[in-house]
């Protein structure tokens, strides 16, 4: 199948999903990342089988516990998101949550989030914490529930379908006035972790805060991310997934694709609009179009991955 045919079949398949909102499909092939705008009309009879099995779905910034005007029902929008994922014709092999699971790091918020997420048909869930998950005085609520994978360090790796996944934490060790930080211990661990993998291994790196500087005045970046990128540059396919900013921003740099996901709770303003990254209040009928997930499929196994953003509208 040619790339053009592949794009066409994907477009049709996604149309068939009839999710309703405006979505954008990203196809990554040979290091070239091309967005394809989707008009999600439900007039196509093509099945989703040709889309291939989604490798994983990224959920982000669920902010359970948030109850302000921007979205008084974050439990409801997370439930809608879970219904969306559960309704996919092909279930993803795993789910990644890129942090800010809760709004205030309260035990009851974590418990409710876990209860809601347990409805996912795909049971393999991998998480990293956001800065909203680590505000409890002892920074233990997140780790008590999700710390096992990383031996309570917050960073870990695993393999699935020939893809190497690296989960990183960049919301601790804040320097006042600064960006997110990975820290020397974690960077040394990444170097050792990647050492045994050939350049042709597709790599997925995920962390809460963007691993590239999107807007420094709002702390939308990671101060020592360059040291990480130097380690990743040799690989033929690197996908870097983050949350934190509640909107989609992406860029391609060589063989590296950077992408931030939407929140399932509330949108945030574009960089520099207003006094800070506060919850953005929009009309009720507009909100679902600004919330959603990112799903990632293997396009030409194992060389490349395709990203697709879907709203819950």
């Amino acid at each position: 199948m040619s790339d053009e045919q592949l794009l066409q079949s994907r477009r049709n398949a996604l149309k068939c999903m009839a999710y309703g909102g405006a979505g954008t499909l990203f196809v990554l092939a040979g290091g070239v990342f091309s967005p394809v705008d989707l008009a999600l009309a439900a007039d196509d009879k093509l099945g989703t089988a040709r889309l291939g099995k989604p490798l994983f779905v990224q959920i982000s910034d669920t902010h359970i516990g948030f109850n302000k005007e921007a979205n008084p029902d974050v439990n409801g929008t997370l439930t809608q998101t879970i219904d969306l994922v559960n309704g996919m014709a092909e279930q993803p092999a795993l789910i990644i949550h890129t942090g800010d699971i809760t709004h205030l790091s309260k035990p009851a918020e974590f418990d409710l989030a876990q209860q809601l997420l347990s409805r996912l048909r795909t049971t393999e869930l991998h998480t990293v914490p956001g800065e909203h998950d680590t505000t409890d005085p002892t920074v233990t609520e997140y780790f008590n529930r999700f710390g096992k994978a990383s031996d309570n360090k917050g960073y870990y790796s695993f393999d699935h379908a020939g893809v190497h996944f690296v989960a990183l934490i960049n919301v601790l060790q804040f320097k006042p006035g600064g960006l997110g930080t990975l820290g020397t211990d974690q960077l040394a661990w990444v170097a050792a972790d990647l050492k045994g993998h050939s350049d042709s291994t597709p790599i997925v790196v995920f962390a809460h805060m963007p691993l590239w500087t999107i807007y420094e005045p709002w702390g939308w970046g990671t101060g020592d991310a360059d040291q990480l990128m130097n380690q990743l540059r040799r690989f033929g396919s690197v996908t870097v997934l983050n949350g934190h900013i509640h909107q989609i921003i992406q860029k391609v740099e060589g063989n590296m694709t950077f992408h931030t996901a939407r929140s399932t709770a509330y949108p945030q303003p574009t960089a520099g609009t207003g006094s800070g990254p506060a919850p953005l209040k929009v009309a009720a009928d507009q909100l679902p179009k600004m919330l959603g997930i990112t799903s990632v499929s293997i396009v030409k196994h194992p060389r490349s991955l395709a990203l697709s953003d879907t709203t819950i509208a």
Binding site: E131, P176, W218, S275, G276, P277, A278, P279
Partner: protein
Amino acid sequence: MTLGQYRSLLTAASVAMLWWAATCSPSAAGSSDPTNILMKDFMFAPTSLTVKAGSTVTWVNMDDEPHTAVSDTGLFRSAAIDTNESFSFKFDKPGTYHFTCSIHPRMVGTIVVQ
């Protein structure tokens, strides 16, 4: 009265009550309280505050987004302070104390205790 005005009044009333509760002093209630630091528009206001030893400083969040007040030295660390909530800490020893919001580390402030 519009809903917005009503909400503003409610917010103002609840914040005033928080200050009252935090300071337990009728004369201390109000926006000019010299031991209060507002968290507003992603800034501490004032960014620098001078108090006498033994004073209790109260941080009050006016934003729709939670903030924290975390000492650089580990002397104090609030939990997430949600909208209209507050956090207080008593400064016994003279010195200069820097703090930041761990959720928004661009927010920084200083307390000078005399």
